[in-house]
Amino acid sequence: MVDVASQKIDMAVDLGGIRMRNPVTVASGTFGYGQEYAGLVDVTRLGAITVKGIRLGEWAGNPLPRHVEVPGGMLNAIGLQGPGVEGFAREYMPFLRSTGVPVIVNIWGTDENEYAEVARRLSDVEGVSGLELNISCPNVKEGGNAFGTDPRTVAALVAAVRRATKLPLIPKLAPNVPDIKVFVRAAQDAGADALSMINTLPAMAIDIESKRPILANKVGGLSGSAIHPVAVKLVWEAAKVAQVPILAMGGIMGPEQAIEFMLAGAAAVAVGTANFIDPSVSLRVIDGIEAYMRRHGMGSLRELTGAVVCD
């Protein structure tokens, strides 16, 4: 351990071609398109802004209720409501460009072609820095989680999108699989530049008085503190075989959980549900990681990522 109290700490990270000046972004769907929180948070400090999932055309999402609070977190079944590629580029990109922060667009489709087409169109949109492929959303009938839980589908999908764009590609892997390593290999062999994990866990809540599922969509995705230890395990497993950087998320409530992910092998992290509770949490996470690195004599993120000691 060197004394770096006064030394400059290098927080920059290259996430598969996306140059982030610190390793902290926001999780797709939990920070809108950046501008919603801009009045409360200095979004220009983020390492990247990851926006809500979009497909080719407009999409209405699921009926209400779309969420319910549960111990340790929440369930959501928003159902990927969004403005489509054109709407997104027109309505939201001007603000996003103005931030000067890398923009990661979370994309989805109902088949390979749609994923590829969305990627192709976004390649022409100025200011898009990378694509997060949502192949693990538990809240849509077509596409979504079923895609992400079959390694062949994952490989085919990533390959198709790879052919359609030169943008950095970050498949977001499904957590409800027996062995994440299979999916890590499938995705990176097919041309992924980085990997993102974890999406929400498929879950459900029933109102025992009305005897009905609380979510209109019946099932939804569990996020928040509850899933954090599951996410750490998956990131740690994935890091054993990943040759590309990992973007980790799931239950980050402050710097501690972010650091845990990075020790487990993540190159960068995304703050999700916690934004709803404390909009400036991601800035706290940035500062907290830096303070931790200083305290532990780490000069750059390379010394933090994967530094867990297992013997």
């Binding site: 769907g29 939990t30 920070f31 809108g32 919603e36 929180y37 009045g39 409360l40 809500k52 209405a60 999402g61 209400l64 209720p65 779309r66 969420h67 609070e69 111990p71 340790g72 977190g73 929440m74 959501n76 928003i78 409501q81 928040g224 503190s225 509850a226 239950g251 409530m253 549900t273 916690a274 934004n275 709803f276 509770i277 404390d278 909009p279 400036s280």
Partner: protein, 259 residues
């Protein structure tokens, strides 16, 4: 819109289930418009618990007032707050009511719906009448407050324990007849349960009057980012869109809403 740590100045039960909470929130109070709300992190809940939204009941001299009903886990925990405690509050949020009415302003409140309407009553250019409905006498709140600032108050309870026996919309029908008889115009401002809002909206449309309805949807972010609180809406040209109650509302004109 700010996110600030606010100190509790006062906190008292108004009835068995309704409470008034006063907090020091100068930045929010100064900006606040009637119909807007705040998003509150309830101390004592787990760190991962979502915020709770509450209408602004008052905002004078740097003090923000909330009138809330103890209905669940979060509000039960809130009842334990006392002066000097601190809580994190985002606000003001949402669009708020318009402040100049065409004709007599008719306010229609159900339950804690009096909260934004009392704030509105103090800021509207013109005084009018407020109709308060509830299941029983204990649900009728802020009656004196409205009278104190010069508003006429009519009450309806379903069990007849206070005011007229029946629904608040019965009062509205009578009031409407009276106003029309005097050849005056009227404009509705309503906050309460969805059934009541729909009924008020239908009457506004039928009478060709404007009706401003404040919707109560379960919220997560409160700022338009999560899409948990959406409502199908109609534009003037008839096309529809999906609005976020927290960001595009909570107040919508009756004709905008596709129920």
């Amino acid at each position: 819109m700010v996110d600030m740590l606010c100190e509790v100045l006062g906190h008292k039960p108004l009835t068995e289930v309704y409470w008034e909470l006063d907090i020091a929130a100068p930045d929010i109070a100064e900006q606040a418009r009637p119909g807007q709300f705040v998003h509150v992190r309830v101390p004592g809940l787990e760190a991962v618990s979502l915020r709770r939204p509450f209408s602004i009941f008052g905002a004078e001299g740097g003090t923000l007032k909330i009138l809330y009903k103890n209905v669940g886990r979060g509000t039960a925990e809130m009842t334990r707050l006392s002066a000097g405690d601190r809580l994190q509050v985002i606000g003001p949020l949402g669009n708020g009511f318009p402040l100049c009415a065409e004709g007599v302003p008719v306010l229609v409140a159900g339950g804690y719906g009096v909260a934004p309407l009392f704030f509105l009553a103090g800021r509207l250019e013109r005084k009018g009448v407020v109709l308060i409905g509830g299941r029983t006498a204990a649900d009728i709140l802020a009656r004196d407050d409205f009278e104190r600032i010069g508003w006429r108050v009519q009450v309806a309870t379903q069990d007849g324990s206070l005011g007229t026996e029946g629904l608040v919309t019965d009062l509205l029908d009578k009031e409407l007849a009276g106003v029309c008889a005097e050849g005056d115009a009227a404009e509705f401002f309503a906050c309460g349960p969805e059934g009541m809002l729909r009924a008020v909206g239908e009457r506004a449309v039928a009478a060709g009057l404007r009706g401003w309805l404040s919707l109560d949807k379960r919220m997560v972010c409160g700022v338009g980012a999560c899409l948990a609180c959406v409502q199908k809406l109609r534009r003037a040209d008839g096309s529809t869109w999906i609005g976020r109650v927290c960001h595009d509302g909570p107040v919508f004109e009756a004709r905008e809403i596709v129920w």
